[in-house]
């Protein structure tokens, strides 16, 4: 660093960059994860029991369950039509005996039948600011527990850095910050700025750098107990680990994709998850709902009419038609082109412009909780290998077995940038073997603990064929409002119609928007009728 040319402002910018704030902000913006979710609206829906309003909801996932729940309470007559064999959409918790309906690759989950051996194959986490999701957990009585999303004792591992050796995240982060702080300290100490700083500023900066990087009183980084002791610390004095090589840290990639993970919008610790599985959210809605739900019913036609919407669906080899006053449609947008409809051209074009996301997960039943022997209790190891992440269960600590998330692929490989379709095309057995081999580079004997596993490539799950709708900035600008607002009496909904695609909060937010819009128009209609009579 050529400190001689640093202006004070530039220096402050640099501090921001080194400390991560700017970098983190830009990273998360690039990932499209930085939108406000806000507090849930106070829905005060007009009761319409006497007006006999009918509503058909397409798809049985979070957004439609939420809408049916609210409308039912306001006296609407609802029905839900679901194409697949189950309720919940991408809220899917797999347990012993469950069927995974991957097109061409049906699997049965072979986990042992134990309450703690489950796998959240879709939605898995609820951060504290997802207020709509938390609101429904609260009112529906879904018991939550803290989930250690971030664990500094878990590892970062890259085949191309540190000889492929897994490094504790705490060690990597302490050293990275320590060295950065030392550079900052030196720059401030030498007063290497265009404009001099006040003595007070200078002194505070030096102290800040010492504190931020855990430097010694002379502003040198010589290791820190933030990285964990090499030995000791209890019956004898703790001994610091030797430091990592700073240039090797800079050569590695973890600081690009993982170091600030737990500081991003949705992933800042702590996160929460329902005790016993994410599908408890779905079950909680079902306990309250009277709305009939028809499963294995595939929609073939959606026709918008002046006074309602006609839905033709196919159930057990027969066609049925239902006519309702309003339709709430959570069918993945990429399917709409294959369904008969009379949508206006621009509306159909908007729906066709969303791309399919390709999230895949693997759940592995491990014969032994070997990670707990490595002082890891919950949290996530990051790797630049294709599997991306390993999640250790936060629940069931000290039980014999546990379900580990063995791969988390979202779109493409961090290292090779290969699209994660490579993973989709493998057979379920190949995927487990693949996850095992890459896991071996992180934990010794990892694959020998694998008893069985399930893989869920959402891009090829029956009636889903995707997870995480892709919106480019241009598509967002052109179509978001068009699709968020109803076309006639038809509302497109779901996490796909939100700024939080692939999160339950996105589905809740979309449902909330639609409910408020419906209520407004129904109030206006009713007022007009009353005025006329």
């Amino acid at each position: 660093m050529n400190a001689k040319n640093l202006s004070r402002r530039r220096f402050l910018e640099l501090v921001g960059a080194a400390g991560g704030a700017t970098a983190v902000y830009q990273t998360s913006m690039a990932l499209g994860l930085m939108q406000e979710t806000g507090a849930p609206a106070n829905l005060d829906l007009l009761n319409v029991s006497r007006a006999k309003k009918t509503v058909v909801l397409l798809g049985a996932g979070i957004s439609t369950l939420n809408i049916a729940y609210e409308l039912e309470r306001a006296g609407y007559d609802c029905r839900i039509i679901e194409a697949s064999h189950r309720i919940g959409g991408r809220v899917l918790t797999l347990r012993s005996g469950d069927m995974v309906d991957e097109l061409g690759n049906k699997q049965i989950c072979r986990f042992d039948d134990e309450p703690h051996l489950y796998f959240n194959a879709g939605a898995a986490r609820i951060p504290g600011h997802h207020q709509r999701a938390l609101h429904y957990c609260k009112v529906l009585g879904v018991e939550l527990e803290i989930m250690a999303n971030d664990n500094r004792r878990a590892y970062t591992q890259e085949p191309d850095a540190f000889g492929g050796r897994p490094i504790q995240k705490r060690e990597y982060m302490a050293d990275a910050r320590g060295f950065m702080s030392e550079l900052v300290y030196k720059a401030v100490d030498k007063n290497a700025f265009d404009q001099p700083m006040s003595n007070e500023d200078r002194e505070r900066m030096l102290q800040f750098a010492i504190s931020f990087g855990d430097l010694d009183p002379n502003g040198l980084y010589k290791g820190s107990n933030r990285a964990g002791y090499a030995t000791g610390g209890f019956r004898k004095a703790g001994e610091l680990k030797g430091t990592l090589n700073f240039s090797e840290i800079l050569n590695s990639n973890f600081w690009r994709y993982g170091m600030h993970f737990a500081e991003t919008e949705d992933w800042a610790a702590p996160l929460m998850t329902p005790v016993g599985g994410m599908d408890n959210v779905v079950k909680a809605f079902l306990r309250k709902l009277r709305t009939p739900i028809t499963l294995n019913a595939q929609v073939q036609s959606i026709m918008l009419r002046d006074k309602g919407v006609d839905i033709v669906y196919n159930h057990k080899g027969k066609q049925h038609m239902i006519t309702a006053d309003y339709c709430f449609n959570s069918i993945p947008a990429h399917f709409i082109a294959g369904i008969h409809n009379n949508f206006p051209k621009d509306y159909a074009a908007g729906l066709a412009s969303l791309s399919r996301g390709h999230l895949s997960k693997i759940g592995l039943q491990m014969s032994k909780r070997f990670w707990e022997d490595e002082e890891i209790y919950g949290g996530i190891t990051s790797t630049s290998q294709e599997i991306g992440e390993i999640w250790y269960p936060s629940h069931g600590i000290f039980k014999q077995k546990g379900i580990v998330l063995g791969a988390y692929l979202f779109g493409f490989s961090r290292r090779t940038r290969a699209p994660s379709n490579f993973f989709e095309k493998m057979t379920p057995e190949e995927r487990i073997r693949f996850a095992g081999e890459q896991g071996n580079n992180i934990h010794k004997g990892y694959s020998s603990y694998i008893e069985n596993g399930v893989s869920i490539p959402w891009g090829r799950m029956n009636h889903m064929m995707g997870c995480g709708s892709g919106w480019t900035d241009e598509v967002r600008a052109q179509y978001f409002s068009r699709l968020q607002n109803p076309e006639g009496r038809h509302y497109m909904i779901g996490d796909q119609i939100s700024y939080h695609s692939s999160w339950q909060e996105g589905a809740f937010a979309s449902a909330e928007f639609a409910l408020q819009d419906l209520d407004k128009r129904v109030r206006a209609e009713m007022a007009a009728m009353t005025g006329a009579s």
């Binding site: 006999k52 009918t54 007559d77 609802c78 029905r79 194409a83 309720i87 097109l103 061409g104 690759n105 079950k283 079902l286 306990r287 709902l289 009277r290 709305t291 009939p292 739900i293 028809t294 595939q298 929609v299 073939q300 036609s301 026709m303 009419r305 006609d310 033709v312 196919n314 057990k316 080899g317 027969k318 066609q319 049925h320 038609m321 239902i322 006519t323 309702a324 947008a333 990429h334 399917f335 082109a337 294959g338 369904i339 008969h340 009379n342 066709a352 969303l354 791309s355 399919r356 699209p419 379709n421 490579f422 989709e424 095309k425 891009g459 090829r460 029956n462 009636h463 064929m465």
Partner: protein, 381 residues
């Protein structure tokens, strides 16, 4: 947990057969797929018209034999194994999941599904595409109608964006890469002839312009009308038919003259279909004798002409290829051919005669085939 299938009070819900009237008419009703093939419609659409968002091709209108062949190609790994063929990779396990009986059954289901004609989504130079297509027409037919004998599927019933993707796949060795995939190899070589993307877009734009559109009924009427008009005047402004000299009654023209500005159609050779498909493939009965085969050829040409909006009266030039009939000591059965020919040419209803040549040749593509007829057509204005 759920309240089951209780029908709610206010809903209209019944089997569609009883109340589909509000829909746009019976033709608009998607066919209910057999239970075990419901999953096909997830990606290919309720009426199998294809879904670009999933890169799933149109299946409605696809010939059953081609459906079978492609499902087998997926099963064998000829398709759906190349790293760059992401959509094919998605399809392959579906094909693998089908039992052998299922493949036949699925082809029957596909044959029964009707859907609206594909929309044109690709811009290109149709005239250039037309010229480029000439090399394709040998296998896929002059009007892109397909030719089972040569293994070329129909192209006019497919979505244009899918044709473009597949042409690129062939050109880039993403499709047709397997050594024993004969047809794929053949097509890969053919796709090289097209060269760049622009050429592909032009050909596809041309094919898309041949696709049967909604107004095709009207177009057919117009075509019929104009061929009637042509019948009335043997020599019109565009086509002059010079008769054979010496008042010959032989039903061909000495020469046919076509003025500039007339659209000329080169129609591929047409071979017969089986006269008796139940007969053994190698038996005489399968294709029949020369007369039977020629009648069959003209019938097939009639179907192709109808799609092109032309009639036998518009044919200006014909080449007849006859294989020696083993039952006639290896000599061609010219008389047999003429019996069939005179039912279509030189009649009261259809007096227009083409310039014509006939040859005896050593053999045709299919064993037992005795007749192939190739024509040039002047499109009526």
């Amino acid at each position: 947990m759920m309240s089951g299938l209780r029908l709610s009070r206010h809903f209209v819900d019944c089997a569609v057969l009883l109340c589909l009237a509000p829909l746009a008419g019976a033709a608009d009703k998607p066919l209910v797929p057999p239970e075990k093939f419901v999953y096909c419609t997830v990606c290919h659409g309720a009426d199998l018209k294809g879904n670009r968002n999933i890169e799933a091709p149109r299946l409605s209108g696809m010939e059953p034999w081609y459906v079978v062949r492609q499902l087998e190609a997926f099963t064998k790994g000829w398709r759906g194994t190349h790293d760059a063929d992401l959509a094919g990779i998605e399809m392959r396990p579906m094909a693998q999941a089908l039992a052998e009986n299922d493949i036949e059954e699925v082809s029957r289901y596909v044959r029964n599904v009707k859907s609206a004609a594909p929309e044109s989504t690709i811009d290109g130079d149709r005239n250039r595409g037309h010229a480029l297509y000439q090399s394709c027409s040998a296998c896929h037919g002059a009007g892109g109608e397909g030719n089972e004998v040569l293994g070329g599927p129909a192209l006019t019933t497919q979505n244009d964006w899918y044709l473009a993707t597949q042409l690129k796949n062939y050109r880039n060795n993403v499709r047709g890469h397997a050594a024993d995939d004969t047809y794929g190899q053949q097509m890969k070589a053919a796709a090289q002839l097209l060269g760049d993307d622009a050429a592909i877009m032009d050909v596809v734009a041309y094919l898309s312009s041949l696709q049967p559109k909604e107004e095709s009924q009207d177009m057919k009427k117009t075509a019929l009308l104009s061929s009637l008009l042509l019948t009335a005047s043997v020599a019109n402004a565009d086509v002059t038919r010079h008769p054979l000299p010496n008042n010959s009654t032989f039903p061909i023209a000495q020469a046919v003259e076509v003025t500039a500005g007339t659209t000329i159609i080169w129609h591929s050779g047409t071979v017969p279909g089986p006269a008796n498909p139940d007969a053994d493939r190698n038996s005489r009965e399968y294709y029949g004798d020369t007369e039977t085969q020629a009648l069959n050829v003209f019938k097939r040409m009639e179907a192709s002409f109808e799609k092109l909006g032309v009639g036998f009266g518009d044919v200006v030039k014909m080449q007849v290829f006859l294989v020696g009939d083993p039952e006639l000591g290896g000599k061609m059965d010219f008389d047999g051919f003429m019996k069939a020919y005179t039912k279509y040419f030189g009649t009261k209803e259809q007096p227009n005669l083409p310039a014509r040549s006939a040859f005896q040749i050593a053999g045709l593509a299919g064993d037992g085939m005795l007749v192939e007829v190739e024509v040039v057509i002047a499109r009526p204005k």
